[in-house]
Subunit: 176 residues, 2 copies
């Protein structure tokens, strides 16, 4: 969807939530798209730039890598906020599992590595299409397949809206 006039932009702003909720999921018209935002799996994301890593303990108990496409990585490195349209951030996660092999080599139990993948989440910046959710559309995939659970995808923005305002709804900082 391309808006070519300021009137169009005003309409987009006024109807963004409806637009975001409406087209991709209706009748399963796009089987490759995750729920609510219509985000599809970006080609080549597994080779994007590393932004940072993280470890979620507790119930999640995972290790994470946050990658960015060229536009997102440049914005992270240069501190550009808000992120420009076209920026996509990928969050990969794997089970946080001990490595018996590494521990044997190190002589002590200290090493945790990436186990089975859990899911991959994307944040896609399109300030027009996703104006109602801070300019971000969200997607989740398991084993390369889109998650179609609308209730799940509707939790993305309420959580991201808790990130500091100056971070443009993004939790991750660029790792030095």
């Amino acid at each position: 969807m391309a808006w070519t006039s300021s009137r169009g932009l005003a309409i987009a702003a006024a109807t963004c939530v409806t637009v975001a909720l409406m087209p991709p999921m209706a009748g399963g018209a796009d089987d490759d798209a995750s729920a609510v935002f219509g985000v599809t799996l970006p080609a080549g994301y597994r080779s994007w730039h590393l932004i940072s890593v993280a470890h979620e303990a507790g119930g999640l108990d995972d290790l994470r890598a946050i990658l960015g496409n060229d536009i997102a990585a440049r914005a992270f490195r240069e501190g550009t906020k808000p992120f420009p349209d076209g920026a996509i951030i990928a969050r990969l996660a794997w089970r946080h599992v001990p490595s018996a092999e590494n521990n044997a080599a190190f002589g002590q139990a200290q090493s945790f590595v990436a186990g089975p993948a859990t899911n991959v989440q994307f944040s896609v910046k399109d300030s027009t299409k996703y104006a109602g959710t801070g300019g971000w559309g969200f997607g989740q995939f398991e084993g390369g397949r889109p998650n179609r659970d609308e209730a799940l995808l509707n939790t993305c923005f309420p959580c991201h809206s808790r990130a500091p305002a100056q971070a443009d709804f993004v939790f991750t900082r660029y790792a030095p």
Copy 2:
């Protein structure tokens, strides 16, 4: 150093340890090179392909990302062993620090992120130049500066030699 004859290769194999120990460090001739193996900081490594992530608890207490250049990443993905000459693996590490900001958003203490960088290590495959150490040369850098501690760099291969033989002295597996 380029070897252009089979006799040259034989000499390289016979003298590899001397070759590796000798030239870059003598008299500080190459200030950009890390000790023992003469490894310099590879251009653009921060944008290399993500191979995996890890968490070392205990005294190290860090989060890690393992990146590979094009040759290394292809070998990881295709399971090619030994790694071909030209493969370079980068291990970045940062302090494993709690994120008060993330914990506040999640409503519980569970989130650890990349804190200050500790060091970056490289494994460089050159089966001729580094024949005496499994075909691998090793380098370490702090803040972009090469570590010149010979005793430290001489610990690299003895540790990597504990990785399974079929892994070509590499601990990391490609994260799915």
